[in-house]
Symmetry: C2
Subunit: 425 residues, 2 copies
């Protein structure tokens, strides 16, 4: 026997039980996105590297993108993020698309990272954006979408929290610390590293980029100023609006949140697991120049992205993934012998047309073996059409969970299945 061909490091095989979780998460994403009136879109998985050179963080493009050449073409990239594609697509039709636009998408992305718990090289990402308005109501809506999603997965506000900050507010605060304008992007990176370094390392890093001892002290006070948001009219309005959505438990101010990507200009936010490994689940913010950067007009927007890998770990650890996920078969129609196959197929088609998920055992076999097969697939109801039943126009229906079995008239098949499976999917 040959050796089984390996799979590629950092990729995942989605067997049906794993796929069911991904589908459950994606269905909530789709439901929340569309209820907020967002329209689904998608871009290509392959883009030219130039698209990302414009505005993605340097690390993302230089170190993490899968780049390769294809015959006769320029350097291609497996998309590491969606926002530049969104910007390109909006720029291409900037005079035709009704604004503001609300678009969402879900699909595969690739980053050449070191695979570890919570990090794969191939992953799925939800992207959602509201483009064409500077209104704070747009910022609040996007954060409300994120919070509604987290709530609908079953996560409580004790388990997750969306931390919000505002780069403009931080910029003003840095100005009052007399941090030079040119230095501020570097200081944003210093803030971003706060929880990733030890205090000693962090101080050294802050001094190294050119801050004075006094400024480092001021920065430490700043990132712990829990009331700082009251100085930002935008944030005051933002938190008022979040209350209207009834989501204030899920959203709070946090001056340490700044986001790594270069293109954010206003509000920024990240959802974190509380306790546990306190992992970042999703992140986003307001950008004002993204479309212009790929060749379109200036168009302000706000949005976020959420990967599936960390989310799934958080959901698992929180114990909120339902045990029985939809879309597994509900009914097995058994096959007694070769001669009765047509009658079994007929019954299956009848049950299927009533809306149930039905499998037929494709070969005649011992009934006990067929029931065991149904148990392995977690099927709840088995239908038996043996020669005895067929002779008298009867059918036996077995509830595989309770092991109850009834023999009824063939015409009552559907109503009996409804009794055993009362709640249709």
């Amino acid at each position: 026997m040959a050796e089984i061909v390996r799979s590629v490091k950092g990729t995942r095989d989605f067997y049906p039980d794993v796929m069911a979780v991904r589908r459950w998460m994606f269905d909530i994403i789709r439901d929340v996105s569309t209820r907020f009136g967002y329209q689904e879109f998608d871009g290509p998985c392959l883009e030219f590297i130039d698209l990302y050179a414009a505005k993605s963080g340097e690390e993302l493009v230089k170190e993490q993108a899968f780049v390769f050449s294809s015959p006769g073409d320029d350097m291609l990239t497996l998309r590491p993020e969606l926002t530049p594609t969104l910007a390109r697509m909006v720029a291409q039709r900037q005079y035709d698309i009704p604004l503001p636009l609300r678009w969402w998408s879900i699909g595969p992305f690739w980053r050449y990272e070191n695979p570890q718990r919570g990090r794969t090289r191939e992953f799925y990402q939800w992207n959602i954006d509201l483009v064409g308005t500077e209104a704070v109501a747009a910022d609040a809506e996007i954060v409300a979408v994120a919070a509604t999603f987290l709530k609908e997965t079953g996560l409580s506000s004790e388990q997750v929290q969306i931390y919000v900050n505002n780069r403009r507010l931080m910029d003003e605060a840095l100005s009052s610390l007399e941090v030079a304008k040119e230095l501020r992007p570097a200081v944003f990176k210093v803030i971003d590293k706060l929880d990733k370094l030890s205090e000693k390392e962090w101080r050294a890093y802050a001094l190294e980029i050119g801050l004075s001892e006094e400024q480092v002290g001021g920065l430490q006070t700043l990132v712990n100023a829990q009331d700082l948001w009251l100085k930002s009219d935008e944030l005051v309005e933002f938190f008022e609006l979040i209350k209207i959505f009834g989501l204030e438990d899920y959203v709070s101010f946090n001056p340490k949140v700044i986001r790594g990507l270069d293109y954010y200009t206003g509000i920024v936010f990240e959802a974190f697991e509380l306790g546990g490994e306190s992992r970042a689940i999703l992140g986003g913010g307001r950008y004002d120049n993204l479309v212009a950067d790929v060749g379109g007009n200036r168009l302000p927007g706000v949005g976020f992205a959420m990967g599936d890998v960390v989310l799934e770990l958080v959901l698992q650890d929180a114990g909120v993934i339902p045990e029985k996920l939809g879309h597994t078969p509900q009914v097995l129609v058994t096959v007694f012998d070769e001669a009765t196959i047509p009658e079994s197929l007929k019954a299956a088609e009848e049950i299927r047309n009533a809306g149930y998920r039905v499998v037929v055992h494709p070969e005649a076999d011992k009934l006990g073996k067929q029931f065991k097969y149904a148990d392995k697939l977690d099927i709840s109801v088995a239908v038996i059409l043996g020669p005895d039943e067929l002779k008298e126009n009867l059918v036996a229906v077995k509830n595989l969970k309770t092991r109850d079995q009834v023999t009824i008239g063939r015409g009552e098949l559907l109503s009996q299945i409804e009794k055993f499976l009362p709640s249709l999917p």
Copy 2:
């Protein structure tokens, strides 16, 4: 203004209107697959080239696969098809998976082909397989799944037809034409080329691979023998079973169908558009050694694959794509002025929680402009909460299709929307 960055040749941008069609097709695929009791799975988009070397057609691997190297890794491939991944995943867990297994999947695939109408380099493909049985009932079920799908898109049996053949039957027929066993795979390719070459070219090709004049004549008779299937017990049983599904109008015997891929061993089939450009929509068949070829045990199976690009063209030309596709927003809550934003957001959240897809205009603007925005998004209902309405606890609701507008008590908002939007999604 900078030039807009180009998109990659052979890829597609899915703007919301285009995405809605893709989503509509995918939803029917999901519905049909799960009703037949199939479980969704997925593999990685990246695989090692070795996986395809085992059994995919030579053309597919050598000429059409996107192959590239990543730092420290072997040659990677963007998957050109799913079946080898299915085989690998089954081989990895061959002692744990309850057999027969019914799995389906949909996702992106890549082939380096010359982009043209009906052909892109990045496309989506539905794969569905029933593995672990040699029963003809399995072959019939898989073809019934394909026919049910085509029927549910709205295509009639005058517009599409699934042509079925059997490689074993053809092998026997070639044997009676005294075609040497070694030559038969090449003759299968000759049959596959029948509709792709002129008669003259085809004869020359058939002679060139080593057939005699007499054998070529015999082959021409063979591929026109409409009753040949009666000589195959498998096909006789197959067509009996197809009748039970009530799908006999969609399925017919055609000795010209043979399929290009090497791994098929029994029944083979292809769905074709009738008339028009008579494009192949989907194709599949029975394979008996696929899992063994990647290092597992011998495990028979049957399945098919369908790309989204040709399907969509056929559906468009047949005029069966519904004009109004779901998931676009249904209600616009207008914003009268800055002061009323909170009341507008409250109303939107109330309507959303009742299950409707709702957008709020994020900024105060002239009502006429907001109605025009709603028209562009094909929204049916607008809600108006101006200072006059708010003072008297009223709300105005406008049917944007009929231009009717009513002013009602604030508490009747939901029931009025239900009147204007009677059929919930």
